[in-house]
Amino acid sequence: MLAYTLKRLVQGVITVWFIATATFIAMHNVPGDPLSNDKAVSPEIRKNLEEKYGLDKPVMEQYLIYMGNMLEGDFGISFTQQNRRVNDIIREHFPVSAILGILAIVFAALGGILWGALTALYRNKLPDVIIMFLVILGISVPSFVFAALGQLTLVNVNALLGFTLLPVAGWGSVGHMIVPSLVLGLGTMAFLTRLMRSSMLEVVTSDYVRTARSKGLPPTRIFLKHQLRNAVLPVITVLGPSIAAITTGGFVVELVFAIPGLGRYFVQAVQQLDYTVIMGTTVFYGAFLVFMVILVDLIYGWVDPRVRLE
């Protein structure tokens, strides 16, 4: 177990190093450079700026400085937002994204497990048919369409009621969080419902459930202790990819709902070619996702003793 954990961590570090290097190479391949924008800059100012950001040094030296700074956890200063350190941007805005993402994943997991179990219990009856139809819809509609529809519904509901039930955009109160996190979790919830349903159907016909039933255990106990607990296990395996889906889905939801999360800053930085912010947030997101997947795998091995980690 320890050896496996160490091996995965080393692999993770190598992956993150590759991400950082690829980001550096990508940034240096971009046509144009961060200092050329619409304002004309005199050669002297340009030279000073290049010195300030270290752009006048040879590429290899820039790479070493960049890697050295990154090891110290310093991502540099933003090009477009003057005097703002990338570390500060991440520190201020990642918590917002994290709250949104955690709410979304809790919502998706609870909803997915509940609906999935329900459809399996009512297999081929009306609730199953209705929920599975919604699930197919949930898998087929892109997150930005959900976000737009969620916002549109909110506007209409508020107009219908004559007062603001929930704010349409922005961030700050609990009311701001509800609809964006629901919208963000929908796709994952649909996916988890489907997975939970097939896993539940497998469990329902298993021997130990039949044994439990023949022993005369109460149905609720069988459902909770024997069926649900065992059926939930495969759901944990896809939590890693789900976290990735919700993280990137967050870019869009934050954009549509004007939420000051890191995703929105990342997309903005990409559009404005803010080099240091792109590099910093990409490496940060990359490391976050890589280690999340490792964490989920370790948790799975811990929860399900049948899985041999090696």
Binding site: V30, I139, V293
Partner: protein, 463 residues
């Protein structure tokens, strides 16, 4: 004990023997069987028809509906489908003098007593006149699309008139055929607004000049005179915020979205087959190394790398950005198929029929062509079908955040991105591309389910 004796006749076949076993139905090949199963699955069959319909919409549509997707119809901007297309012919635009009045002689206090139209309001010009206000040093004219009375919702300030005598204004700013609410507020000498304002609802009718009608191919020269009615160009799905035909844009957007959605999976599945079958066939240390590499690529955060790739091979002027996206998709997506194919190959190598074939002297290429590939084809086809919706999703996501196909080339994702900005006032600009993405993804998902049930006995779902 008697010795057994046999005659020749004992070795003749028994006549009228009962047939113990007989193949009662025609024997079916794998693909015939799969096709019968697929035909029995109504959802999959409908999805197949939808996919065929989408492909013909994309490929044949532009031949039937030959409107240029980049052409702007400025008479009909952001029109929903089925909107009124009538327009009245008017003469060419004539300059207008306006009107003046002496406020100190005829003015009244507070706000203008009344706003009037100097002539019927048209999309060519709205000409307003109002009664002067006592002590006013000037006026400010506002326009809104909602009534202004509630909460002083004056709307867009159109003009500031810094002369007490001028009591007229001509509005020619992006007029559409709808009702506007004009408001006029008097200004004091330091430019502060008076507290009161006067408002006038104006219903604007759509007009074009005879020359414009000829220019746009709506009529022959000389055929129209002012006062005639013409029908503007038909846009079955309406127009977008620049007056471009949505149906034509949806067709061309489909070409981009479906091209990426179908070609990219084909390429990366092919790459995956080559990689996976090589690894599975060679086995040993080479296999280990190749699969370690595949694991490494899988661990990379997919969309982050798509965005990085996009930035690195950024779009120069005149480029569409389709090729970099295609390349990035192929480079990042092949490992899933490679793993699958390798697993299949390893499994098939163990099968008895492979050993039998080898014993009978079959060469490697025969084994691969006759046994390995046909037996993995089903799984590969299912993977391919499921890869299409995810590629379409990726394209739509990237185009939505502005990292996909470069304008003016439309894709469904970038159309959604444009549509979301005018979602509240013109929802059709978002709804049409969103519905097309959803239906396409839905159809491929259901078709994939059907194909999986039909082709792969082991993956058959528990329904």
């Amino acid at each position: 004990m008697t010795e057994a004796s046999f005659n020749v006749s004992d070795f003749e076949p028994v006549s009228g023997a009962r047939e113990v076993q007989r193949i009662s139905r025609p024997s079916l090949s794998y693909w015939q069987d799969a096709w019968i199963r697929l035909k029995a699955n109504r959802r999959a069959l409908i999805s197949l028809y939808i996919v065929i319909g989408l492909l013909s919409f994309t490929l044949l549509g532009p031949l039937l509906w030959t409107v240029d997707p980049a052409a702007q119809d400025l008479d009909q901007v952001s029109q929903p489908p089925g909107a009124d297309r009538g327009a009245t012919i008017v003469g060419p635009f004539q300059p207008w003098e306006g009107a003046t009045a002496n406020a100190q002689v005829s003015g009244q206090e507070g706000a203008p007593a009344e706003i009037r139209l100097a002539e019927p309001a048209t999309t060519q010009a709205v000409r307003l006149l109002w009664d002067p206000v006592l002590d006013a040093a000037g006026y400010r004219v506002y326009r809104n699309v909602f009534p202004a009375e509630e909460g002083r919702a004056l709307g867009l300030p159109l003009a500031e008139i810094l002369s007490p005598d001028r009591v007229s204004f001509e509005d020619r700013l992006d007029l559409e055929a709808r009702t506007y609410y004009y408001s006029v507020v008097a200004l004091d000498p330091i430019g502060e607004e008076f507290p009161d304002f006067t408002s006038l609802p104006v219903k604007v009718i759509r007009v074009i000049t005879a020359e414009q009608a000829v220019e746009r191919g709506l009529a022959k020269p000389g055929a129209l005179k002012p006062g005639d009615q013409v029908q503007l160009k038909l846009h079955p799905f309406g127009t977008d915020y620049l007056g471009r035909d949505l149906l034509a844009r949806l067709m061309f957007g489909a070409q981009v979205s479906l091209f990426i959605g179908i070609v990219a999976p084909m390429l990366f599945v092919l790459a995956g087959i080559l990689f996976g079958s090589t690894a599975g066939f060679l086995g040993g240390r080479t296999d280990q190394a190749m699969m370690r590499f595949a694991d490494f690529v899988v661990a990379l955060p997919f969309l982050l790398f798509m965005i990085l790739f996009k930035i690195a091979f950024g779009i120069g002027p005149g480029e569409s950005g389709i090729l970099p996206m295609l390349l990035a998709l192929v480079l990042l997506s092949w490992p899933a198929t490679a793993r699958l194919v390798r697993g299949q190959i390893l499994q098939i190598r163990q099968e008895g029929y492979i050993s039998a074939s080898q014993l009978l002297g079959a060469k490697t290429y025969y084994l691969v062509l006759r046994h390995m590939i046909p037996n993995t084809m089903g799984v590969i086809l299912v993977t391919l079908t499921f890869a299409v919706p995810s590629a379409i999703f990726t394209e739509a996501f990237l185009s939505f955040i502005g990292m996909g196909v470069a304008p003016p080339i439309p894709s469904w994702g970038s159309m959604c991105n444009e549509g979301i900005k005018t979602m509240l006032s013109h929802p059709h600009e978002l709804i049409f591309p969103a519905v097309f993405i959803s239906i396409t993804v839905l159809a491929f998902n259901l078709l994939g389910d059907g194909l999986r049930d039909a082709l792969d006995a082991r993956m058959r779902s528990t329904e």
